[in-house]
Symmetry: C2
Subunit: 218 residues, 2 copies
């Protein structure tokens, strides 16, 4: 049974880049399934199918791996969003609609993503490095929305504070996304999308903060 001449490798080597990616993806899966406390060096290694020691060979430590996983997840979400927008019609409204639709369909609806995101939000409060990453991720996230709303305002000749509108929009999307993923039994992804589209309807109709201008200087 034991091969004499032919030897089966005990493990296969991989390029550092590829291995790092595998470990990052394993970390994301672990964070989603077991949370922060359940995500240990050994669990991640087992999930990736490698030995625990390999983690410290490719990353400075567990903390570094977590931070790197945040950066990767952020880029992944950004990539999915960007792809949806690219596939849609290149008008401000169509882009906003595409943003809504992709926010409430795969792979965004993956409840695992929320698990990962929640631990990052939680870490944001205590960890300065994670906090910095969070700032960058959300800055890009909102900058794009703000720009879309600004273009929409010009196109439709609307008087809207693009910054505040983008804040309201992201808050609504995040809130809907959060609560749907937390407990999908309360409302469907379709209802969430409907609510968000309705917000866009009102924005286009010039009904966002239409009568509250004086509240700003009050």
């Amino acid at each position: 049974m034991t091969p004499l001449t032919d030897k089966a490798p005990k493990f296969t080597r991989d390029l550092p880049e590829a291995r790092r990616k595998q470990l990052i993806e394993a970390t994301a899966r672990s964070l989603a399934r077991h949370g922060m406390e359940g995500t240990t060096v050994r669990v991640v290694a087992a999930e990736a199918g490698v030995s625990p020691g390999l983690v410290r060979h490719h990353f400075a430590g567990m903390h570094d791996l977590i931070a790197e996983t945040y950066r990767w997840t952020g880029k992944e979400v950004d990539r999915a969003l960007r792809a949806s927008l690219a596939a849609a019609e290149q008008t401000p409204e169509a882009q906003l609609r595409a943003f809504v639709d992709s926010s409430f369909s795969e792979p965004m609806l993956d409840t695992d993503l929320l698990g990962v995101w929640l631990t990052f939000w939680s870490l944001t409060r205590t960890d300065p490095e994670i906090h910095a990453i969070h700032g960058k991720v959300y800055a890009g996230y909102r900058r794009r929305l703000e720009e879309l709303i600004r273009e929409l305002a010009v196109e439709r000749k609307l008087k809207v504070d693009a910054r505040v509108a983008s804040l309201a929009f992201t808050a609504l999307l995040d809130g809907l996304w959060l609560e749907h993923c937390l407990d999908a039994s309360t409302f469907t992804a379709r209802e969430a999308a409907m609510i968000a589209h309705d917000w866009v309807d009102n924005l286009i109709a010039g009904r966002f903060l239409a009568g509250a201008k004086q509240a700003l200087s009050a």
Copy 2:
């Protein structure tokens, strides 16, 4: 220096109820400051000024203490909200406005509260007991809002789906609250309140899901 007749007690006894409350509050502070991973039996005990062993004397275990802290925090938030509503005018609109205002002022704005809440949200995904508590807390939370919107609709003769409207409202509030507490530099609590009040404005004007009825049955 050492007192001969007068003896200083090494510790003071307390009623189980009082001690449990102290430990729960210490747990909340620890969750806010150090997150889930940093909240250990010893840290909580130190925060409460008692010995680590006392935790297991009053609670079945660390997990039980966390769950109990969720129940307590949920009631505490509910109490603060209820007090604000009671102090406000007893009309549906005034009640909704009070709900908004108290959501973006002390003690709700306490960034520590978000820290606690985030760990609970995170636990909701993996822990069945925490998930059940979450369901109860949010059910009451939304039931009150749904009822207020229903009353508002009757009073103003509006055709609104109170259930969906309450979902949108809580999502907007939670999203604004979450993102403001995560990074207070992006927008102020006042702006958050302004956005939420604007949503109420549009609701009263009958502009919530005004043109999307057919989308429901599509």
